[in-house]
Symmetry: C2
DNA sequence: GTCTATATGTTGATAGAC
DNA sequence: GTCTATCAACATATAGAC
């Protein structure tokens, strides 16, 4: 935390999904690290910064995590698993119609990024600070999540429900809407999460040229 | 450059627009810094790393830039100015029809991100490492570029050419397609830049519910 | 599990010779 | 404009007492 740089995200309490584990010092460390990594970045946040906010000595952190990188790895793991689980659950609820499946996936993707903006930022931007070994499980989940959308799109195309200009480019464009949310969307503002999720779902179906789009 | 982390972008020659200035050591520094900042991030690239690639001693860099942060500031400036100029030029060529204006803006936005992926990454992700004072000019340009698209969209809506579900959300979704490109698009691959730019323009017009979309 | 104290390396930047 | 040499601050992480 050398320089007084611009925070990427305004200071707001960083929320972790329940799957992050029970309350206690370990969870406090993860929540505080999430806040700092999202705001300043992994490499610009020192163990000392983290300890100072937690009102602990730096050495105390090593009773909970073997290294700073392991703290990031845990956040990246939690984020990827929660996201993937939300997508899978949404798809199970969606029925067999391709348009409904896309709507469900996009709504879940958008909700995840809008409701946990810090986690989304850290997962997407600080991911690259991990060694290949530490990033591998998250990378696998990431590819599975992307494949989920791609399969739904390709099924819709083969059933003549969708006619996107380019299926892969369209899939990336759909995913990008959610991934970019933490950079501009303000959770407490005029636009509520549900309206936003609906708008994204509608935009996705329009991109796909969905026959059942309004 | 402490840890052997995953590079964000495969090592490829980092291209800088001609507006970056004449050849010489100063330009070599900028090109090399662009490469390293894009691949490892600003905070994980040391003055020593930069000097080593340039085959210079660290102190030699201070004859060209007063600090590491000034090197980043210059890259951020170059990137924002080149991007904004491309958008302005594209809009001037586009005529008065809203759909053609959107198509021109999106094509230029996409080309800029696809043809200068490292610069796009550094401008978008490492921007936050700058102090507010050093980031201010770039931030102003960024807002002007966003306003350019927003105005074209709102003009199209008032002329009843466009009917987006939510103009601001749609504008952000359109911009996001380009901003996310460096993370997946491979310039030398099967998908050429022109086809990609066309696909993005088509997706943008579909999102807007453009009457003249194919 | 937290503390004090410290080991060991790296950081951005500067002084002054050529 | 580049070099050698160096400074002061900071980094991650560990040892060992309580």
């Amino acid at each position: 935390m050398s320089s007084p740089s611009r925070p990427r995200l305004r200071a707001q309490p960083a929320s972790l999904p329940p799957s992050a584990g029970p309350d206690g010092t370990r969870r406090r460390i993860l929540e505080t690290a999430l806040q700092l990594f999202a705001s300043r970045g992994f490499h610009d946040t020192s163990i000392r910064d983290l300890a100072a906010v937690l009102e602990l000595r730096p050495s105390a952190l090593y009773a909970h995590f073997p290294s700073k990188e392991h703290v990031l790895m845990e956040l990246v793991r939690i984020g990827h698993e929660a996201h993937h689980e939300l997508l899978r659950a949404a798809l199970l609820d969606a029925g067999a119609e391709p348009a409904e499946q896309v709507r469900a996936l996009v709504r879940a993707h958008t909700r995840a990024h809008a409701e946990h903006p810090q986690l989304a930022l850290v997962v997407n931007e600080e991911f690259y600070a991990l060694t290949p070994e530490m990033a591998a499980p998250a990378l696998a989940l990431r590819e599975q999540s992307a494949a989920l959308l791609m399969e739904v799109i390709e099924r819709g195309v083969s059933k003549r429900r969708f006619a996107p200009p380019h299926p892969l480019v369209t899939a990336r464009a759909i995913a990008a809407m959610g991934v970019r949310l933490p950079y501009w969307y303000e959770p407490g503002g005029a636009l509520d999460v549900d309206t936003l999720a609906d708008a994204h779902a509608e935009l996705a179906l329009r991109m796909l040229g969905s026959a059942t789009s309004r």
